[in-house]
């Protein structure tokens, strides 16, 4: 279970202090949670803190009973590797590796054998509909395909938590729909999926929507009616 307790993050811009996240407290259940808010509301900073990319000025992020800020850089890397998957808006894939190698990358970090990771990476690519594109470099894939490879990679080590930061931001509507479908599927399969978006229509597919404004959690909207019965596989 991922939990943010009184999370606070401030930056200094010259003489000025900027509060990016203001005493945010929330326990993330399984299923899809969307974080929405206008530009500059602190969505990305919040995700950075939740994922352990950054440390809070105050408060803490707990994964189970472990406060992430008590861990070293490498300790947080280990937590991300074992417990979290990521899909970003861009810069998702390592440009010099093929789609298959990108998916296999976290498994290599985790020390899985070559055969095992290649077999699993191939299966994951197959599952996101890119079974035939494994040998292609990211530059040869469309934006939607790259996002699907990123989803496959995020699932490589079967993490319980999945972060998606504007995953459809650069995609056309058809590709975006496919990506959203995959994320919803993950939520239904029992993962905690945290989706950061400024797209309210996309956010409404989530079970709950957290509204941020000036770094503060101003409203929790739940449940999202579109999720019910939305699973294409159910």
């Amino acid at each position: 279970m991922l939990e943010a307790i009184n999370l606070h993050k401030r930056y200094h811009q010259g003489e000025m202090e900027v509060v990016a996240v203001d005493h945010f407290t929330y326990r993330f259940p399984t299923g899809l949670t969307a974080i929405v808010g206008p530009s500059g509301s602190g969505k990305t900073t919040l995700l950075n803190l939740l994922a352990g990319f950054d440390v809070p000025s105050q408060g803490e992020v707990r994964l189970g009973s472990t406060p992430l800020s008590s861990l070293s850089e490498d300790g947080r890397s280990e937590v991300r590797l074992r417990h979290m998957g990521f899909v970003f808006q861009q810069w998702n894939l390592i440009p010099t590796l093929t789609a298959l190698e990108n998916v296999a990358f976290p498994m290599m970090l985790a020390g899985l054998g070559l055969k095992e990771r290649n077999a699993r990476a191939a299966a994951l690519l197959e599952a996101v509909g890119l079974g035939q594109r494994g040998k292609h470099l990211p530059s040869k894939l469309s934006g939607g395909e790259q996002q699907r490879v990123a989803i496959a990679r995020a699932l490589a080590l079967n993490p319980p938590i999945l972060f998606a930061d504007e995953p459809t931001g650069n995609l056309d509507s058809a590709s975006g729909a496919r990506v959203v479908e995959l994320l919803l599927q993950q939520a239904q399969e029992g993962r905690t999926v945290i989706l950061v978006t400024h797209d309210l229509e996309l956010a409404r597919k989530a079970e709950r929507i957290l509204h941020l404004k000036d770094g503060k959690l101003v409203r929790v909207e739940a449940p999202a009616p579109t999720l019910v019965g939305a699973s294409p596989s159910s």
């Binding site: 990305t44 950075n48 994922a51 990319f53 950054d54 850089e73 490498d74 890397s77 280990e78 991300r80 590797l81 074992r82 990521f86 970003f88 810069w91 998702n92 894939l93 390592i94 440009p95 010099t96 590796l97 190698e101 990358f105 976290p106 498994m107 290599m108 970090l109 985790a110 020390g111 899985l112 054998g113 095992e116 699993r120 299966a123 994951l124 197959e126 599952a127 996101v128 496959a152 990679r153 699932l155 490589a156 080590l157 079967n158 479908e181 995959l182 599927q185 993950q186 399969e189 029992g190 993962r191 294409p232 596989s233």
Partner: protein
Amino acid sequence: MPRLCEPVNLVPTRTHTLHLGVVAVILVVVEVWTLIYRNLRARPIRSILTLLGIAVSTASMVLFMSFGEGLRKALGAELSAVGPAVLVLPEGVEAFSPGYPELRPETLEALKKAAPELGINQVIPYVVLTRGGFDPQNSFVFQGIPDGLSPKALYPNLTLAAGTLTLSPRGAVVGSRLAERNQLGLGKVLRLSPEVSLQVEGILKKSGGLSDNIIFVPASVVQEALGTRNYTAAAVGVSAGFTADQVAEAIKARIAGVSAQTTGDVLRFAERAVRISDLVRFGISLVALIVGGLLVANTVMMSVYERIREFGLMRALGAKQGFIFGLVLLEALLLGVVGGLLGLVLGQAASGLVNWYTGREVGLALSAVTFRLGSFALLVAVVLGLLAGFLPARTASRLKVVEALGRL
């Protein structure tokens, strides 16, 4: 749509359990090889230019250092070809810089007289005269040996190609390369000075050593040309039951105004001189090496800056700082090793070219790329790669994920 939550076996594998040791390092290298190789291949021109930079700097070091190795080899071969084991020289004169003849006949007489007691079985005085300049094509070395004596007394391995080895009072035996270069045949007249002329009576077979470039003449002829009765040095044979060192010590103790050097002393002296020149040559080649190292550092640092987002992504996905550090360091190391190997091949080729030239000019292979030198060059290339990669690797590994991914 198939379910994506298939379980994955996360039981630690060997990569986890082996944190230290050569095997672990090899495993990591194999694991990250694809990443390194792909990155270098993604920037082919830069990678090739960097490799060439290292290769040229390593090759120049190999070539510079190969002269020392070549000299060692040549000296060893030359000294092993000398018959008598002890060389007697005027005091203060070194074996490789004989200069004007200063060994007086009286001193030689005293030496001969004391020979049985000193453990000496033969004394062969000789006088050396050089004519010509620095250009080996136009320089001649005359070695004057006692009248009636064969040059084999000094160099037992010499063999005759034509004529005779027994010199007449105005005869000369010419080394093969010198004869070939100057088209000296039997009966040809050599002018040592306006008053002194000699006739070629023998031509030696090629030995691959200095004797290929020497003209053996009677000592009296050289002395006449120089206007002296002195000798340059005397080669001394050691009687059975004595060692060269014992004889040399006895000579120094008994005969005033001379020093005695064994072939071992000469080799040790030569080794000291070559070692000093090694240091000088290494110092010069260090400049090229530093340039090569800076080239690698620059390439790797540029590569790090270009790949900041990539490293950020890796960190975000769970790569530890050590992984990124190793990745960048191994890339620099790979450039160093491959460049070093390439440099070794280039250096070997350049050394061969030098040997072809010096062989043609003076009949000696002055350059040698030995196993020792090859290993040293590779070691230097490896250290160069590691040093050049250290700072970029440290920079890359310490990147903040949020900054690297541009997520501020």
